[in-house]
Symmetry: C2
């Protein structure tokens, strides 16, 4: 049992070069904060681990400011309110927010989202019903726009975003082909997620296997990985194909810039390639939750969680997700909801 008056936080100690190592991070302790006017103190239950976090460890600004040395790692969390000076929240409420890699946090109530009472799964609000799910929804519906009969491909297909992207495209009537790492994930993508096919990116001949799985070419691509997968997919894009550029995790640990695909066919085939970040469109979060909650309740939207216990293991979790060691939405259980 840890002392309930102590807060533990994971901070960045050193900017990683290439693949991060556990010693790039450190744990600091201080007192659990108290709430100022309008503020809410929460005890973290779940922490989401997502590939984008690697970008925050770089010195250069990406779309968000980098984490500074000594600063607490940022990340989405679900927590329980333990003290509130905001009338909208009361102790015992369960809230989601971006409260970082720490056991407790204090924040203005406006930065928190109260989860419905009796929610089937709290952690789902960090995955299928959270930012990753909304990301899949935004990319598929705004950029890929799959139509019945078209072929839609998604990489990192068993992951938090890819698994949802493929299921949305399937509902739109597309032939959905996943790309994932290893036979277990491919089996899951076909059997549990219901994709029409799944190609193992570790296979000897990715191009040929992809061609076999997509005999009519590729009309929509949801990009999560980059690297050789991207090169293979881009070669097989059809005229008027749409590519949603969500992430390129295979590159996040790179120390030099690898070349990308030749874009000559983008002209002749009138291909659309569009980068996006779901936080640009905050309304997509609530739209997606409203749409997906009934599907979760009805059991028609499949998802899988990969849970690691203990805040101190969050760095290893991040290191693992960058090389695809997770299987499903990666979460750190920071505390139990009845702890």
């Amino acid at each position: 049992m840890t002392d309930s008056s102590i807060r533990r936080s994971v901070v960045l100690k050193r900017r990683p070069k290439g693949e991060p190592v556990a010693t790039d991070f450190g744990i600091v302790e201080d007192a659990v904060p108290t709430s100022g006017p309008g503020e809410v103190v929460t005890r973290t239950l779940w922490l989401s681990i997502d590939p984008y976090m690697r970008g925050r460890l770089r010195e250069e600004k990406s779309y968000a400011a980098p984490i500074q040395i000594g600063e607490v790692m940022t990340g989405e969390t679900v927590g329980e309110v333990v003290k509130s000076s905001d009338p909208a929240f009361a102790p015992g409420d369960i809230v989601a927010g971006a409260r970082g890699w720490q056991t407790h946090s204090v924040s203005p109530g406006a930065q928190l989202f109260k989860l419905p009472k009796g929610a089937a799964s709290l952690s789902a609000y960090l995955g299928v019903l959270g930012m990753p799910g909304a990301t899949a929804y935004a990319g598929v519906t705004e950029i890929c726009k799959p139509k019945a009969g078209e072929t839609f491909v998604v990489s990192a297909a068993s992951g938090a975003v890819g698994s949802v992207a493929g299921q949305i495209a399937k509902r739109a009537g597309a032939r959905v082909v996943g790309i994932a790492g290893g036979p277990d994930k491919c089996l899951y993508v076909q059997d549990s997620l219901g994709f029409d096919a799944c190609v193992d990116h570790r296979s000897m001949d990715l191009r040929q296997e992809l061609r076999n799985a997509c005999p009519n070419g590729i009309d929509g691509y949801f990009e999560n990985v980059g690297g050789d997968v991207q090169l293979a997919v881009f070669e097989q894009l059809n005229a008027f194909a749409r590519v949603a550029m969500c992430g390129m995790v295979a590159h996040y640990n790179d120390q030099t810039v690898r070349p990308g695909p030749n874009l000559i066919s983008v002209v002749g085939k009138r291909i659309l390639i569009q980068g996006f970040i779901v936080s640009d469109r905050p309304e997509r979060m609530s739209e997606w939750r409203a749409m997906a909650e009934p599907w979760i309740a009805a059991g028609t939207l499949a998802y899988r969680e990969d849970v690691i216990d203990g805040l101190e293991n969050a760095p290893e979790a991040l290191i693992g997700i960058l090389s695809g060691r997770n299987f499903g939405k990666l979460l750190v259980r920071v505390a139990s909801s009845h702890g």
Copy 2:
């Protein structure tokens, strides 16, 4: 004086490997055709030479079918009606159409567009007022969407498409930077086209010169060339940049596929990359003509033509445009309008 009853046509004799050579083409002669019901016989005055024609010489289908061995080269022309079985056309009318590399053609009247009587320049309807101008218009207004204060970059800036693209962006209030080959073209782009700056892609340090010309980064890019120019521009794109992919002439003679830019920043910067072909949007042609004819009349839309005499020189003209030997819109004068 050539025999007016003989038609000469340039045909494809052999598919070029790499850079085309003159002997890949041949000239065939036959009788000037007569018109069947609803058909019009024209005498070609001007033939347009455009980089896209290289794609038609390949075996593989691009967005249009390849030219077959022995077949007449396709291309946009302006001609004079010499015989008409379509009541909408009379001998002496001047018409534009895609009648190919030949001295005479016969076609249904519906495939011809009658030029206004007393048009200031007939050849302009193959360049600034024709397909290249409409291409610039479509790419800038539908994809790049330059706004006042933004930086807009266009490659092949002194060419038929690039020169118009930059002038449209300039009218929208953007800072317009051209990229062109050599000091003469760069001088023309700045002095005659009125761009804010022009970078010589042959300079020792293209990246740095581009950075100097675009101190606030690049918000819109109109791509005509690919290659090293593309790599340099892509590195300097801003968040929410829009890239209109119109052509990649630096690659058209390639026999192997060169790698392209790493696309990782497309995600974080939410960049849009969109290929397009103006013939997908035929309404853009008439829209653009209606908009640009008054500008031409008022002298506020600059253009430059590079004229080569004689149909037999069309192959050399095409070979030249692929390495940037032309300076302005490249045209072959097939016959004079009073010949």
